[in-house]
């Protein structure tokens, strides 16, 4: 049976004669607006009644007098609690979505996702190692690096996993999807087992710290945390646009990308290091938040096509917006308590992933 949604999109593509760059620009513009709205709503929603009007009023007028002015308490809530949380959400949403898109381009497969194929598990292992062993075995490492120790360890864990995965799954320039997913399962199992050993060794205080790694949460957002992982994510994300053309060529296979003049080895290693850095920093800051990397690029490919020059920036914008949305759900569903955001993204994302598999059945050779 022909893939119906592809056929449906075909009619639209014919109208613009196969050139979807105009539509992509429009979509990106709307995504910018959407993100702005999401940021504003996140800043103003929550247990405190600091409203959109009062926040904007505060920005425009400074400490304006009257009812709309922010009280000192409101200002504390908005600037020291909500703003860092929103910024962290934007950074991590963008990092996860773009990492997913880049991995899918690298593996030439729409099912590759840092969470699914064990990269996040590897990053978690690195982070947990620092939390549990930071005061003892890894003390020189944590003392020397300070707040960077955690994201760096998560980066190394993610990098090691990705490199092993790529070596195992790719032969003669062809990546086998089955091998990739199975190797991902094996590596994730190994990383989770090693993490388990560390958790077994942890004391009570560390156990409390560790709980959120399993679930994923933005609740611990502070300016200090943004200071340590923000630069890593921003650096990794700003390298990604330079990969876009190469990843487009890579869609034709490694050999053909090389024939087109792309330095394939350099492209692959830049992509792997960039993804590991972005995922590592995200995991270090918020634990495992799944499915953003697979849902966001997939939705966007339906709307604007797979051209990475547009897909990567659009993924960053939509990933950031969706994570803020998920965080809003996490904060309000069981208020005044809070759901871990990883649970929200998994509950929405896992069925979506199954839907992708159903659609791709027979189209993608697993």
């Amino acid at each position: 049976m022909a893939d119906q949604s592809i056929a449906g999109a075909g009619i639209m593509a014919t109208a613009s004669d196969g050139d979807r760059s105009g539509r992509a620009r429009v979509v990106i513009l709307f995504l910018c607006l959407g993100l702005a709205v999401a940021v504003l709503l996140s800043l103003t929603s929550g247990a405190s009644d600091a409203s959109v009007v009062s926040v904007v009023g505060d920005w425009l007028l400074g400490a304006a007098p009257g009812d709309e002015a922010l009280s000192a308490r409101d200002r504390l809530i908005v600037y020291d609690i909500r703003l860092p949380r929103v910024i962290l959400g934007v950074l991590i949403g963008a990092a996860l979505a773009v990492s997913g898109a880049v991995m899918q381009g690298l593996f030439r497969n729409p099912l590759a996702d840092p969470g699914l194929i064990g990269v996040s598990a590897g990053s978690s292992l690195g982070a947990v190692a620092v939390i549990v062993l930071g005061a003892t075995v890894l003390a020189p490492f944590t003392v020397a690096l300070g707040t960077l120790a955690l994201p760096l360890a998560a980066f190394c864990g993610g990098l090691a996993t990705t490199l092993v995965l790529y070596q195992v799954a790719t032969r003669h320039g062809r990546t086998s999807v089955a091998t990739m997913l199975l190797a991902g399962i094996a590596l994730a199992a190994l990383a989770i087992a090693l993490t388990g050993i560390l958790i077994f060794m942890a004391d009570d205080r560390q156990l409390r710290d560790l709980t959120f790694w399993q679930l994923g949460s933005l609740a611990g957002a502070t300016w200090q945390k943004i200071g340590s992982v923000g630069p890593i994510i921003v650096l990794a994300l700003s390298a990604m646009p330079f990969l876009a053309r190469g990843l487009n060529a890579l869609a034709l296979g490694e050999a053909t990308a090389g024939h087109l003049g792309i330095p394939v080895q350099r492209l692959k290693y830049t992509a792997i290091i960039g993804v590991s850095a972005a995922v590592g920093a995200s995991v270090a800051a918020s634990g495992g938040i799944g499915f953003v990397g697979i849902v966001v690029p997939h939705l966007l490919r339906l709307a604007i096509g797979p051209d990475n020059r547009y897909l990567l920036p659009a993924s960053a914008l939509l990933g950031a917006s969706l994570l803020l949305l998920a965080d809003a759900v996490a904060r309000t569903m069981v208020a005044p308590a809070e759901l871990p955001i990883g649970i929200v993204t998994a509950i929405a994302g896992a069925p979506f992933f199954l839907w992708i598999l159903l659609r791709k059945r027979g189209v993608v050779d697993l």
Binding site: A2, I6, A7, A9, G10, A13, T14, A15, S16, D17, G18, D19, R20, R108, N109, P110, G173, R245, N248, A249, A251, L252, G253, A255, T256, G258, H259, L260, G261, I262, P263, V264, R301, G305, P306, D307, V363, V364
Partner: protein
């Protein structure tokens, strides 16, 4: 000018190509023929810079092993046997990838229109908006050829000839499109470029090739013009098949040769 001296390729410890010498001049179509598994594709992949080889390969006097991907991409374009995609690219998006290096050699400002023109040349007018994954194998093959043509649109750039490397460009095509593709190759060579093509159809090879390289068990079995190479003895030796050149079928069995094309 492409010169290969004593080229050998081993994959996984097994020697696939052994001591092949290969020369071609711009203006020529060089056909590589031989039975399945004789090392044709492996040799072409070495020539494309995909595989490590021993021996020496120069393109326009430059050592292939010292070339960066970008330099090689300016000198030659490569059509693989088949290309599958995992993402829903449109035909235009695929063909445009040929312009990635920015050295098509078309007149300034013409690049934007090249995908259309290249598609028209491979008889895919109006296919730009279709999805690549929805096309038949033969149509996909022609889309890839259009992409390859965009990459080296001008057969000569900066006074230097450029080359098309085609790995079984006709394998999934009907007879009409086989002739169209071979005419494109012929035209590319006539205008000063060079074409290296792996072919299986000996009649089309005889019709279009200026020079034939016959491969057999990884080695070069014969080389020369079609008249010199295509003999009963060689075909029997290389293809292990007793065929006779230039003999009409008996009785009223119909046969159709590409040479009869109007």
């Amino acid at each position: 000018m492409i010169e290969a001296r004593d080229v050998s390729v081993a994959i996984g410890g097994k020697r696939i190509v052994a001591n092949v010498d290969f020369d071609m001049r711009p203006g020529e179509i060089a056909a590589i023929v031989g039975p399945n598994g004789s090392g044709k594709t492996t040799f072409l992949r070495a020539l494309s810079g995909d595989l490590a080889y021993s021996g020496e390969v120069t393109i326009n006097g430059r050592d292939l092993s010292a070339m960066k991907p970008v330099e090689a991409a300016t000198m030659r374009a490569v059509l693989p046997q088949a290309t599958t995609l995992s993402f829903p690219f449109t035909v235009r998006e695929i063909v445009r990838l040929g312009l990635l290096g920015g050295r098509s050699g078309a007149l300034p400002g013409e690049d934007e229109r090249l995908p259309e023109r290249a598609l028209a040349r491979v008889d895919l007018d109006g296919f730009a908006g279709r999805f690549y994954q929805e096309l038949s194998g033969g149509e996909q093959q022609r889309v890839q050829l259009a992409r390859v043509l965009c990459q080296v649109w001008a057969p000569v750039l900066d006074g230097k000839p450029r080359y098309l490397f085609l790995d079984e460009p006709l394998s999934s095509l009907d007879i009409k499109h086989q002739l169209i593709i071979m005419n494109i190759a012929h035209d590319f060579a006539r205008r000063g470029g060079g074409v290296v093509a792996i072919l299986h159809d000996l009649n089309l090879t005889a019709m279009y090739a200026d020079r034939i390289f016959v491969m057999h068990r990884g080695r070069l079995a014969a080389t020369g013009s079609p008249q010199d190479v295509l003999s009963d003895d060689l075909i029997e030796k290389v293809f292990d098949c007793r065929l006779r050149v230039g003999v009409l079928p008996a009785g009223n069995v119909p046969f159709v040769l590409p040479q009869s094309a109007a």
